[in-house]
């Protein structure tokens, strides 16, 4: 099935796709998931694809990206091979429980360890929506803000599959759960992965979400992850984005927190075409703690836009936000971070920072730290910096016999270091440290997870 046509209004392209595909969309999911579609597509139609006039998308016009033609895979037919034929994950060989999504669909041959604690559910969003309707009724589409962002609504309208994770009360999953989302298709493809995570009271889980592209086609991902973090629970999500230049990745995360819970999100954008990350943290109870981090490293014509909204709805919560960016060549980026301290939220501690390193004259960042405070007994700070490599430090390193290139790498790494150190899982931190160093050395293309590796780059794009 493909969408074409230039005359019709852009939004109509998506609404008619929706109307034409409703039957196949609904086939795989529960009634609860399908029943939310109509309202969502309506919200989408009202707001339209965000262009530069939409304040939150001021520096990333989504219209041209959504104007391109893509195929869709609502029947789950595109990928029929064995995963091992196309993918060999030896870069992130982490002690982890690993599952795969292909083109947003849960890979049916995933094998889960038999030793998972009782009650833990890890698997397909679609399947669990049918087998565990009670969990979906309680949590699905409760946290995603369809009315704030039309692309989130678009995802809700088209949601079919993704991953579902449920950690019952008191259970601690020590090893990170690694989810590898691979795009692999012979035609340009668009996907709407939808994920749901429920961490019950006093439970803990860490998720590592790796996003890759394995074929050279153009991809558009518009994914949404909702996470419910109950009382005293601990939840981490690390999102590593390593995709080729023809990828547009819109990734939205919504975290709902309850009392004494601790949540961490970390968006590591190592390589993509256009990336838009939305991070919404809702601290809906007292004594919540949230950590919102990001690191983006871009070169050539890549574009990265990070948007975050941290909602201090109740008193005595703590939030810490740090985004670091390194931009080379003509890469562009944007950061907008809003911290909302509601009238009730006394004794709030909220800290936000965005630091950027521009390596060339042509690299560009627009940064906008925002604080909105309606309570009067709070401690908040926000700030942003944009700078270049320190000439004095360069000379110091070179005067010790370290080459200019190596000094540059050391200093870029030193800049990124602070964000990498925020990773709370030591083994993962090690892995990501290496990965980031590889990026700075321009060696990430040796990574097997990237389709263009070992191939001559051809017209229009290259891998790193």
């Amino acid at each position: 099935m493909s969408i074409t046509g230039t005359e019709i209004k852009l939004e109509q392209k998506y609404t008619s796709l929706f109307n034409d595909s409703k039957t196949s969309l609904d086939k795989v999911v529960s009634e609860n998931v399908s029943s939310q579609r109509d309202k969502a597509i309506q919200l989408f139609e009202e707001k339209g694809i965000p262009n530069k006039k939409v304040e939150h998308y001021k520096y990333t016009n989504m219209v041209p990206l959504f104007e391109e033609s893509y195929n869709v895979d609502f029947e789950h037919e595109v990928f029929k091979k064995n995963l091992s034929e196309v993918f060999n994950c030896n870069v992130h060989d982490l002690e982890a429980t690993t599952i795969y999504l292909i083109n947003g669909w849960y890979y049916r041959k995933n094998q889960l360890p038999e030793t998972l604690p009782e009650g833990v559910l890890i698997g397909s969003f679609a399947e669990f929506s049918k087998s565990h309707p009670e969990l979906f009724e309680k949590h699905y589409n409760q946290y995603a803000k369809n009315d704030e962002d039309s692309l989130v609504a678009l995802n809700t309208a088209f949601a079919q599959d993704g991953f579902f994770i449920y950690i019952p009360k008191g259970v601690v999953i020590e090893k990170p759960i690694q989810i590898v989302n691979i795009m692999h298709s012979e035609q340009d493809l668009m996907a709407f992965p939808r994920n749901l995570v429920v961490i019950e009271e006093n439970a803990q889980a860490k998720i590592l979400l790796c996003e890759h592209t394995l074929s050279e086609n153009k991809f558009l991902l518009n994914g949404v992850t909702e996470a419910y973090v109950d009382k005293n629970a601990v939840f981490d999500i690390y999102n590593i984005q390593n995709q080729h230049n023809l990828t547009t990745n819109v990734s939205s995360v919504f975290v709902k927190q309850k009392q004494h819970s601790s949540a961490l999100t970390h968006n590591l954008t190592l390589h993509t075409g256009v990336t838009r990350n939305n991070i919404y943290i809702d601290m809906d109870d007292e004594h919540c703690e949230s950590h919102v981090y990001g690191l983006f490293i871009s070169d050539k014509n890549q574009h990265v836009d990070n948007f975050s909204f941290i909602d201090h709805a109740k008193p005595n919560c703590y939030s810490e936000e740090l985004f670091k960016g390194v931009l080379d060549d003509a890469a562009t980026a944007a950061f907008a971070g809003k911290i909302m301290v509601r009238p009730d939220a006394q004794k709030t501690n909220a800290f936000q920072r965005n630091d950027n390193l521009l390596l060339t004259e042509n690299a560009k960042i627009n940064t906008k730290p925002m604080l909105e405070i309606y309570a009067d007994d709070v401690k908040c700070s926000h700030g942003a910096t944009v700078g270049q490599l320190d000439e004095k430090a360069m000379f110091y390193l070179r005067s010790r016999g370290i080459s200019k290139e190596e000094s540059r790498i050391l200093l870029m790494y030193a800049f990124a270091y602070e964000a990498v150190e925020k990773i709370r899982v030591p083994a993962l931190r090690e892995q990501i440290r290496d990965l980031v160093e590889h990026v700075f050395r321009g060696e990430l293309n040796k990574c097997h997870s990237c389709a263009l590796c070992g191939q001559e780059s051809n017209g229009g794009y290259s891998c790193m």
Binding site: A393, F395, Y396, R398, S403, E406, A414, Y417
Partner: protein, 250 residues
């Protein structure tokens, strides 16, 4: 080993060095003294390869090679060491990583096999002991949060690690208390042998009580206006620089 002839250097069209002549031979210790703004630090930065200055005239050869043609890193790999007056703090770069990269790049340049991790750590332990640097300083980021004395000790530690042929110590004594000064000077003396040379740049004669020079040069307005033995340092300490200024007023 180091021969500087008629060296002129400027920054933003302002000429700071106006014809420096200096010859340094193995085993020698040279002290360069002079009032503020005479060009002492410029001379050392120019020799170390700082790109902030433009050499407009003259030459500097290091074991017969044209020093001024080399980028800063090659000068270091050839055996020139510059101890900074203000060592730079580099958060995020660990001392160990920094030194291992430096030592191994130098070895690679000289066609030697890079040190393995264990060989390197052993070398580092030895040198730390030699210069009496606190062992946990090397577990931190380069100079980050170091006190003034620690930074200078760290310079001497790096000098010990890199084993240079010529070391230029730029105001190594500034801001040091007497104990730190003694440790730094002891380090320099321990590293001294008949094959290497030291150029000590200082304001005060006190450092020269510890690092005894063979020659003392007075730099004034971008030229070496007087050279003598170590007794000149005492004379300067006693009389100040005014008599020099008067004598060489343009």
């Amino acid at each position: 080993m180091l021969e500087i002839k008629d060296l002129h250097a400027k920054i933003d069209d302002k000429e700071i060095l106006r014809g420096i002549n200096l010859t340094v031979k193995p085993g020698e210790v040279h002290a360069i003294m002079g009032p503020n703004g005479s060009g002492k630090s410029t001379l050392s930065s120019v020799l170390a390869g700082s790109e902030a200055f433009e050499v407009s005239e003259g030459s500097a050869s290091f074991y017969g090679k044209n020093l001024l043609d080399m980028p800063a890193e090659d000068r270091a790999r050839e055996g020139l060491f510059y101890s900074f007056q203000y060592p730079v703090e580099i958060p995020g770069v660990s001392m160990v990583n920094f030194m291992r990269t430096a030592v191994n790049e130098q070895r690679k340049y000289n066609n030697e096999k890079p040190y393995s991790a264990s060989e390197f750590l052993k070398l580092m332990r030895e040198k730390k002991k030699l210069v009496e640097i606190d062992s946990n300083l090397t577990n931190r980021s380069v100079n980050e949060g170091f006190s003034g004395g620690e930074k200078k000790k760290n310079e001497i530690f790096q000098m010990a690690m890199l084993q240079p042929k010529v070391s230029i110590l730029d105001e190594t004594d500034s801001g040091l208390d007497i104990d730190a000064l003694r440790i730094v000077a002891n380090g320099v003396n321990k590293l001294k042998n008949e094959n290497n040379a030291t150029i000590v740049i200082t304001h005060y004669q006190r450092l020269l009580d510890y690092i005894v020079p063979d020659y003392v040069h007075v730099l004034y307005k971008g030229r070496i206006v007087m050279s003598a033995g170590k007794e000149l340092a005492y004379e300067l300490e006693e009389k100040g620089y005014d008599w020099i200024k008067k004598q060489f007023e343009d």
